[in-house]
Symmetry: C2
Subunit: 206 residues, 2 copies
């Protein structure tokens, strides 16, 4: 592995390859090629070969990739050969949906705590979880050693809650609030903003 | 405008600039600089100037950008100087959350129809909407002239529903299902998969 030199744009494609490979695996396929994988994910075969070659020699000329093996390698590279506990902050509609989302299994994540600041919600159940008070959040997350959080609070509260997550030693924030967060070096943020996704497409429309 | 030559990576940043500018505007700010905007969005001032210069001269040396003017220009470029009607397919937890999401106002979108294939859900209310039957979906969407859809169905159904959306003349699909979709040229897909966002960050973690 060659981490410091691997551009983030390559890293951003690996989860997409992994998802497609896991889908093939679930369908009972055992081998694939860069061409086949490329068709699945809409990326050229040459790009896929180049991306994967950053991390080693995973395929054989002529026989392609063993799917289970490549899944194992990508999970190792992306560090999802383990399960990360995740805290979800903000139990509005989106937080509820995430707390009950079944799609994290086999992807490396498990929601393990949910928080809200509304006294009327604290103590309520959502799926398997009891909603905890954000007033206790910093200590609770830190003691549990949780490093990953999803932020589903209103935009007006997002920076303030992000600051608390940093204090709680969270290192990765998936932000559903439509606002950019300022976090110190060593903390990463990814954004899931539906309007951004939509605007990237309307640009191309008539 | 210089559309055929503008790389998609630049287009992908414009909605992020627009979001930050709208946030500044809401806070009553009137002017900004590439440095200031860059700090908000975590992108270098030079990159921002370069990106915006693809579309014209929007700032003045020394005085920076007029926020309202730049918002207007970006909305025009991204074609969200209008409001796009959006169909939401799949009224599970995520579809419900989207149907009630308040964040689309001022971003160029308005949910206008929601669909599900479950007879027990069809006819029910979600927010302002009555859930319609996916059996009627192709004709209903086509007659309404809707071009944008959000897909929130289980992964196992996503490709099949995407095919119907293509038939309905949808041109932009925001896909919440954790699966890659195959669509013909002229139809665009963007993905909102939380596991992909999380895996892009765990790569960098210890």
């Amino acid at each position: 592995m060659n981490k410091p030199e691997t551009p983030d744009i390559i890293i951003s494609r690996l989860p997409v390859y992994l998802r497609a490979l896991q889908h093939m695996d679930a369908q009972g396929k055992q081998t694939t090629s860069s061409l086949d994988l490329g068709e699945q994910v809409g990326i050229s075969a040459a790009q896929i070969r180049k991306d994967l070659s950053q991390f080693g020699e995973f395929g054989k000329q002529g026989t392609g990739y063993n799917i289970a093996f490549l899944i194992g390698k990508l999970r190792e590279i992306l560090k999802v050969d383990r399960v990360w506990d995740v805290a979800v902050i903000g139990m509005g509609d989106m937080g509820h949906a995430i707390a009950r989302y079944q799609g994290f299994s086999d992807r490396g994540f498990r929601v393990s705590m949910v928080f809200d600041n509304d006294p009327a919600k604290v103590g309520e159940r959502v799926g398997h979880f009891v909603i905890q008070d954000t007033q206790e959040m910093v200590g609770t997350i830190r003691r549990a050693g949780i490093k990953v959080a999803m932020l589903c609070v209103p935009a007006s509260k997002a920076q303030q809650v992000a600051n608390q997550l940093v204090e709680a030693e969270i290192k990765a924030i998936l932000n559903y609030s439509p606002i950019n967060l300022n976090v110190p070096p060593g903390v990463r943020v990814q954004y899931l903003d539906p309007s951004v996704g939509l605007q990237r497409m309307t640009y191309y429309m008539d």
